[in-house]
Symmetry: C2
C-alpha cells in the first residue's frame, strides 16, 4: 500500500489550492490529490463555455502547477475512508495511507424530487463536469427553445450566454426577483431590465409545476397555468454538498448537509479537514449556517487548510463567511457583498440604507463611462457596515472587494466615510462624487 502524508479528495478550487498551499508550507510532506475527472473546469467560467468561450477546453484549470510543486495526481474516485486505519480506497481498487486527509469534494446540482418530468430527455443540469457539459453544449447546438429554471447566478449567466448565441431563452424564477440571494429588488430590477433588453424572456414570481413530454421534454408548465415550449430545459436550482462519502465515514454534517468544521477548517476528526462547497459555513452577519458556494470562498478556506495541516497557525481571522458575488450582463456589472436589506430585515436587524448613483469614470464625458450605483446597508445603532450592492462597469468587480473588506473589518460608516480612496479619471468615479462614499454619506446624514 502506498503511503502519503496528505491526501486531498477532489481537485477543483478547494482541492487544488489546499494541496498547493499545503505543499508550499510543508515541502517535506508527500501529497496526493485524487480526482474523479481528468480535467477540472474553472468553476465560475462554466457559464461562459456556452457563448463567450469557443469551448470548454479554454476553461480548464491547468494541472501543471501540481506536478511542478511535486504533488502526485491520480484520476480515480475515493469510495471509502477508513478513519481507524487512516486509509482511503478508490474505485479502481487501490488503497492509500494518509496522515492528514482533506475533503474538497464540492457539490452537485440539486434536482428537486417534487419536480415531475425532471428525468425526461433533454432536461439538463450544470455540473462541474467537462464531459457532461461538452455533450450538453453539442446537444444544444441543434435546439432553439431553451427554458432555464432558477435565476441564481448560474441560471442568469447561462441564460444570457445562450441568448447571446441566438437561442430563444426563457428564464423562470419562483422568487419576486432574480439573483435574490445577492440583490435587493431595486438593484435586481436593473439586472432584469438589462437581460430583457438583450432579448431574454423573463418570468419571475412564478413556480414551475411540471415538465411534460414523451421521452423528450416538450413543455414546461408553470403554476399559473402558462405553458412554455421547450426543446431543452436547464435546471439551475442550486447545488448540494457532496458529502455522501464523508457521511459514510462517520463525520458530522450540519443540517444543510455540509461537513461541520471548526475555525481551523478541521472536521470532528482532527486529522481530517474540509474546504469549499462540501464544508459548512456560518454567515458573517447572521451567524447562521449558510449554503454559500463560491470558488473564491473555497480558495480562501483552502489556504487556511493548507497552512494548518501540521500546526494550527492560522485561524480564520474572520468569524464567518462573507458572500461576495459579482457578475456581468453584457457590459454592465452587478456585484454584492454581505447581507441585503431584505435579508437583514428578515433576520430582525434594524438597518439604515444609503444609495447613490454616479458614474464610473470622470468627467462623465470620457468615452466608455458607465452609470455606477452603490447601495450600502448598515446596522442602525452600531453603524457597522453589513452589506453592499453595486451596479457599474468592469471595475465593479474590485469595488465590491473594497466593500467586502470593510464588512470583514467591521468598519462603521463614519470610518469608511473618512477613509482615503484613490481615484483616476479613466478608472474610477470622481473623488467628489465617489458613489461608495456618497452612499455612506447618505446614511450619516440620515442618522
Amino acid at each position: 500500500m502506498n503511503k502519503f502524508d496528505v491526501i486531498v479528495i477532489g481537485g477543483s478550487a478547494a482541492g487544488l489550492v489546499s494541496a498547493m498551499t499545503g505543499k508550499a508550507n510543508y515541502p517535506d510532506k508527500k501529497f496526493l490529490l485524487i480526482r474523479k475527472e481528468k480535467d477540472a473546469l474553472v468553476p465560475c467560467g462554466i457559464p461562459y463555455i456556452f457563448g463567450t468561450l469557443e469551448s470548454s477546453d479554454q476553461n480548464v484549470m491547468p494541472l501543471g502547477g501540481l506536478s511542478k510543486a511535486g504533488i502526485e495526481f491520480k484520476q480515480d474516485e475515493v469510495i471509502e475512508v477508513d478513519r481507524k486505519n487512516k486509509t482511503v480506497k478508490t474505485a479502481s481498487g487501490e488503497k492509500f495511507q494518509y496522515e492528514k486527509l482533506i475533503f474538497a469534494t464540492g457539490s452537485t446540482p440539486h434536482v428537486p424530487n417534487w419536480l415531475k418530468g425532471s428525468n425526461l430527455e433533454n432536461v439538463f443540469v450544470v455540473p462541474k463536469n467537462k464531459l457532461y457539459l461538452d455533450e450538453l453544449k453539442s446537444k444544444l447546438n441543434n435546439m432553439k427553445k431553451i427554458v432555464v429554471i432558477g435565476a441564481g447566478f448560474i441560471g442568469v449567466e447561462v441564460s444570457d450566454e445562450l441568448n447571446k448565441c441566438g437561442k430563444d431563452v426563457t428564464l423562470v424564477e419562483i422568487l419576486p426577483s432574480i439573483l435574490g440571494k445577492a440583490f435587493d429588488i431595486d438593484i435586481a430590477r436593473e439586472a432584469e431590465n438589462t437581460l430583457i433588453e438583450r432579448g431574454l424572456n423573463l418570468k419571475t414570481n412564478v413556480a414551475v409545476k411540471e415538465l411534460i413530454g414523451t421521452d423528450k421534454v416538450q413543455e414546461v408548465i408553470l403554476e399559473n397555468g402558462e405553458k412554455l415550449e421547450a426543446d431543452a430545459v436547464i435546471l439551475a436550482m442550486g447545488y448540494t454538498p457532496n458529502t455522501c462519502l464523508a457521511k459514510k465515514s462517520g463525520l458530522e454534517l450540519n443540517k444543510l448537509g455540509a461537513l461541520e468544521v471548526d475555525s481551523y477548517l478541521r472536521t470532528d476528526d482532527k486529522d481530517i479537514f474540509a474546504a469549499g462547497d462540501c464544508a459548512a459555513k456560518v454567515d458573517f452577519i447572521t451567524r447562521k449556517d449558510t449554503p454559500i458556494m463560491l470558488a473564491s470562498t473555497a480558495a480562501s478556506e483552502a489556504r487556511i487548510v493548507g497552512m494548518n495541516l501540521y500546526k494550527l497557525s492560522v485561524m480564520r481571522s474572520f468569524t464567518g463567511t462573507v458572500a461576495i458575488f459579482s457578475t456581468a450582463i453584457g457590459d454592465i456589472s452587478f456585484a454584492s457583498a454581505g447581507i441585503t436589506e431584505e435579508e437583514s430585515k428578515r433576520n430582525g436587524f434594524e438597518v439604515t440604507v444609503g444609495k447613490f448613483q454616479g458614474v464610473d469614470k470622470h468627467p462623465a464625458t470620457l468615452p466608455g463611462t458607465k452609470k455606477q450605483i452603490v447601495k450600502i446597508i448598515a446596522a442602525k445603532d452600531s453603524k457597522i457596515i453589513m452589506g453592499g450592492e453595486v451596479i457599474g462597469g468592469e471595475s465593479a468587480g474590485e469595488l465590491i472587494n473594497v466593500i467586502g473588506l470593510a464588512i470583514q473589518k467591521n468598519m462603521t460608516v463614519t470610518e469608511l466615510y473618512t477613509s482615503q480612496i484613490g481615484t483616476h479619471p479613466l478608472l474610477t468615479s470622481a473623488p467628489t462624487q465617489y458613489p461608495l462614499i456618497k452612499a455612506v454619506e447618505n446614511i450619516i446624514l440620515k442618522i
Copy 2:
C-alpha cells in the same frame, strides 16, 4: 457688510466638498464660497483635455450642486483675512463677515528659480486654470516638438496625451525612473516601456540644465550636454501650496509651506479650517510631513471639515495620509498605495516584499484579458501591510483601493491572506490565482 456663517476660500475638490458637506450637516447655516475662477476643472481630468477630451469644457466641475444646496457663490479673490474681526476682503473691494472660515486654496505649479530660461515664451506649466489651459492647448496646436520636464503623474499623463495627438514628445526626468513617488523601479520600468512603445521619447536619470531661445524657447539643454529641440516646453515639476494669504493672516505653516492642521483639520485658529493641497499632511507610514496633493485626499479631508465645523464629531479615523495613486497609459493601468519598497528602506523600515503576476480575468482565454501584477510591501516583524503596487487593466483603479483600505486598517499579511475576496471570470483574476492574495502568500512563505 454681508454676514455669513461659513466662508470657503477656493472651489475645486476641497472647497466644493467642504461647502457641500458642511451645508448638508448644518443646513441652517449660511454658506458662501469664493473662487477666483469662473469655472473649476476636474483636477485629475486636466491631462485629458489635451487628447481624450475634445475641450476643457468637457472637464468642468458643475456648480449646479452649490445653488441647489443653497450655498452662495461669488467669483472673486480673497486678498485679506482679518482674524480679529473675523472678516475677509476681496479683490473687488467687498467685505464679508464669517464665523467659520475654510482655506481650500489649492496649489500652483512649481517653477524652480534655478532653471534658466523658464521665463521664455512657450514655456508652460499645468495650473488648474481653465483660461490658461485653453490658451496652452490652442498654442500647442501649431507646434510639433514638445519637451515635458518632470515625470510625475501630470508629466506622464500630459506627455502621453500629446504623444497620442501626434506631437513629437520628449519626457525628461531627473530620477532613475518615472513616477518615482508611487512605484519602485521594477514596476516603473513597465510603465516606461509602455510609454516608449507608444512612441514617446523618454530620458530618465538626467537633469535639465537650462532652456535656451531668443524670446521663444528653442532648445532644452540637459546636464549630460544633450540638446533637445523644442517648440514648447511644459514644466511638470510639482506643485506648491497656495498659502500666501494664510501666511499673511498669521496662520502657522509647516516646513513644506502647507497650513498646519490638527486631526480635525483645524488650523491654529480654532475657527479656521483647511483642506486639500494647501493643508499639511502627515504620511500614514513614515509619520513625516508629506506633500501629497491628490483630489481624492482633498475630498476626504473636506468631508471631515464639513462635519466638524460647529461640533467636533469626526476625527480623522486614520492617523495619516495614505497616498493612493492610479493612472492609465493606453489600456494598461498603474496604481499604488502607501509606501514603495525603496522609500521604506530609505526611511529605515525593515520590510519583506511579495510579488505575483497573473491576469485580470479568468480563464485568461477570455477576450480583453490583461496581465495583472501585484507587489506588496510589509513590515518584516509585525507583518503589517505598508504599501502595494499594481499593473493591470481597468479594474486596477479599484483593486488599489482594496490595498489602500488594508493599509489604513493596519492589516497584516496573514489577515489579508485569509480574508474573502469576490471573483468573477469577466471582472477579476481567478480565486485560485488572485494576484493580491498570491503576492501576500509570497511574503508568508518567505517568513
